[in-house]
Symmetry: C2
Subunit: 365 residues, 2 copies
C-alpha cells in the first residue's frame, strides 16, 4: 500500500494525496474527505524513509547512548531525555553499549546510516581514539552527558564531580576519619578521574597523607567493587571509612559488608555517589552525593534541540551546563555510631522527608 495506490482508489493524483496527508496546499473539501476515508479504510501509513529521502532528514529521530541501562542512574537519565524529547517532538532511541566500545562504535555508525538529527551520549571511555574520531566527524550535533570524550569540545551537561567528591570526603574527615579509602571508577572516564581528584583535594586540604593502598579499582561495577573491598579489608591497617565512586560500587561494598556482618556507622563509615532510591526506605542509611539525574537528561535534550534547530549557531561557543550535586547525610558517614539507635531513627525520618521533597523537585522540570 503506497500513496499511489491510494491515489488510484480515490481517482486523483499522488500529489493530491500527499497534500491531504501533510495538510499543506489546497484541496477541495470533498476530495479531501474521500481520500482520508480511503486512507483510513486501508490503514495506510506513509513510509517515513521515503519521505525523509526527498525531504532531507525530515524524521525527527535522536539517539541516546548510555553505557549501562541496568544502572538506575542511566534509566532515570533516559526518562529525563525522553520527557524533553516528547515535548520537542522527537523520537528518542535508546542504545545500551554495556560499557563496550565496539558496540558504541556500531551505534555511532547506525546513527549516521539512519540519519539521526542529533545524539546524546555518555561515552564508555574518554580515550578511545577510534570512536572519538568517528564522533568528531559526525555531521550532527552531539551533546555529552556526565562523561566526556577526551580532547573534544562538545556541548554537554555535567556535574561538578570534583566538588561533589571533595564534599563527601570532607564530611568523613569531619566525622573524625583519617583512614579513608576510595573505591574508584575507571580513570578513563571523566567522573572517575574527577572523583579521585576530589578525594585527593579533600585529604590534602586537611593534611592527611594520600595512601596508595587505600585507593582501589571499582570500575563502576559491583563485582570489581566487592573485590576492592576484600583487598582493603585485608590490609594490616584497614581504612575506617569508604568513599564509593558511584551507585554500582556502593552496592558492591554493601554486599561485602553484609557478608561480613559489618554495619554502616558501626563497623565502618561510608559515603557513596548517586542515589539508590530504595535504600532510603531501609535501615542502611547510606549517605551519598545526590545529583539531579532526571534534570540532567532533560536539559541535555533541550540543549540538543537548540543545536538542531539553530544550525547557524552550531559552530558558536560550546555550551556546557554544570548542575550541582548535593551531599545527603543519612548517618553512614558517622564513626562508630555515636548516637543511640533511637535517636538515629528519628534523624532518619526527617531526612526521609527531605528526600521526598527533593524527589518532587527533581520531577519538576
Amino acid at each position: 500500500m503506497t500513496i499511489n495506490d491510494i491515489a488510484k482508489l480515490a481517482k486523483v493524483s499522488p500529489s493530491t494525496v500527499s497534500r491531504v496527508l501533510n495538510n499543506n496546499g489546497p484541496v477541495k473539501e470533498e476530495t479531501k474527505k474521500r481520500i482520508l476515508q480511503i486512507v483510513e479504510e486501508s490503514k495506510f501509513v506513509p513510509n517515513a524513509f521515503a519521505r525523509s529521502l526527498s525531504n532531507e532528514n525530515l524524521i525527527n529521530n535522536v539517539g541516546l547512548i548510555v553505557p549501562n541501562i541496568d544502572n538506575p542512574f542511566f534509566a532515570t537519565l533516559a526518562e529525563g531525555v525522553s520527557a524533553a524529547a516528547d515535548e520537542c517532538g522527537y523520537n528518542s532511541f535508546l542504545f545500551n553499549t554495556n560499557e563496550d566500545v565496539k558496540k558504541e562504535l556500531r551505534f555511532l555508525q547506525t546513527s549516521q546510516e539512519q540519519r539521526l538529527r542529533g545524539l546524546l551520549m555518555v561515552p564508555v571511555v574518554e580515550n578511545d581514539t577510534v570512536n572519538r574520531s568517528y564522533l568528531m566527524r559526525l555531521p550532527i550535533p552531539v551533546v555529552m552527558i556526565d562523561r566526556e570524550s577526551y580532547n573534544t569540545n562538545f556541548d554537554g551537561v555535567f556535574s561538578d564531580d570534583i566538588e561533589g567528591a571533595c564534599n563527601a570526603v570532607e564530611a568523613l574527615i569531619q566525622n573524625g576519619h583519617t583512614k579513608i579509602a576510595q573505591i574508584m571508577g575507571p580513570l578513563t572516564t571523566k567522573p572517575g578521574r574527577a572523583r579521585l581528584e576530589g578525594y585527593r583535594q579533600a585529604l590534602q586540604a586537611h593534611g592527611i597523607p594520600y595512601r596508595e593502598e587505600y585507593v582501589v579499582e571499582g570500575m563502576f561495577q559491583k563485582e570489581a567493587s566487592y573485590e576492592g573491598m576484600q583487598r582493603l579489608m585485608k590490609l594490616k591497617d584497614p581504612p575506617t571509612a569508604i568513599f564509593s565512586a558511584n551507585n554500582m560500587t556502593s552496592i558492591g561494598v554493601l554486599k561485602y559488608l553484609k557478608e561480613h556482618h559489618m554495619r554502616l556507622g558501626r563497623d565502618i563509615s561510608m559515603i557513596g555517589y548517586d542515589d539508590i532510591k530504595v535504600l532510603e526506605y531501609t535501615d542502611t542509611n547510606l549517605s551519598t552525593v545526590s545529583r539531579p539525574v532526571h534534570r540532567m537528561g532533560y536539559e541535555a535534550m533541550q540543549l540538543l534541540h537548540e543545536r538542531i534547530t539553530h544550525t547557524d549557531n552550531r559552530n558558536g561557543a560550546r555550551k556546557r551546563i554544570y548542575l550541582g550535586a548535593q551531599l545527603i547525610l543519612r548517618g553512614s558517614e558517622r564513626m562508630f555510631a555515636r548516637t543511640s539507635g533511637k535517636k538515629e531513627t528519628e534523624k532518619t525520618k526527617a531526612q526521609s522527608q527531605r528526600e521526598m521533597e527533593k524527589d518532587e523537585e527533581a520531577k519538576d522540570v
Copy 2:
C-alpha cells in the same frame, strides 16, 4: 556526500560503487581499492533509508516498548532483548511509554512509519481498544512480554503469575498468617489480575476467607502502594502480612514501614514480587518471587527473530513461552521473628550465596 559523488571522484559509475560497498558483483581489484580509499577519505556512510526504500525493508530495526524504564525489571528486560538482538543482527530501539497509552499509540505509529521489522511489547493495559486494534493490524510480527493485550493471540513470553502469587501467599500462610493483605497491581494488566487470582486461590485452598478490605490498589507504583499501606494499617483489624504485587509496590511498602518504625519479620511480614537487587545486601531480608527477567527478554527477541525470518510460519500456531518463577525466602515471610538476630544473619548468608549462583545462571543465556 552520496554514492554518486563517490562515483565521480573515482571516475566510475554509481553501480560500481554500490557493488563495492555491498561486496556483491565482480569489480576489478584495482578499482575496488581506489573506491574504498575514496570512501574512507570522504567518510562516506550510505543512507540506510534510501537503501531500504528500493530493497523492501532491509534495515533490521526492531522496537521494544516498555511501560516504565525506571523499573529495574524493565531495564534488565531491555538488556536481555538487546543481547539477543545483537546476536541476531538487529538494532533494538527502546521506547518508554511511562504507562501512558497515548504515548504507546504514538510508538506504534512510529514503528510502522519507520518500517520496523518486528515489535516486542509490554503493553500499558490489556483493554485499550484503540491501541489493540492498531496492534492487530500491524503488518509485522509482535511478541508480547509479561503483559498482554486482551482478546489477542500474539506470540509471547510470560511467567505463571497465578502460581507465583499462590506460592508466595501459601508461604505466608505456612508461617501462621491468616490476615494477609495484597497490594495489587492494575487489574487492567494480565500480571495484575493473575497475581490477585493466585492470592485468592491460596486463601481458598486453606479455607481463609477473602476480605475485601485487605486488597488495596498499588498500581505497580510506589506512591499508590504507600497510600494503600496507610489504608491497610488504619483498619480496626489490620493484616499481619503483606503480599506486594511487584517491586515498585514493595518499595512503597518499605517506605511506609520505615516511616512508622516497623520492621519486616518483627512488626509485620511480607513477600514481594520481582527482585530488588540491592536489597539482598541490606538487612531488609525481603522475600520475593523472582523471575528470570534477563532471559525473558532474551527469549522474546529470539522468538521475534524466528517470526521475522520464517515469514511463511507467521500464521502458524502462536508460540507462547512460560518461564518459571522462583520463591526466594529471606526471612520477611516469618511471623514475629521467631529466630534470634544471630541465627537470622547466618541464614541470610547462606541465602546470599544461593543468590549469587542464581545470578550467574540468569546471565547464562
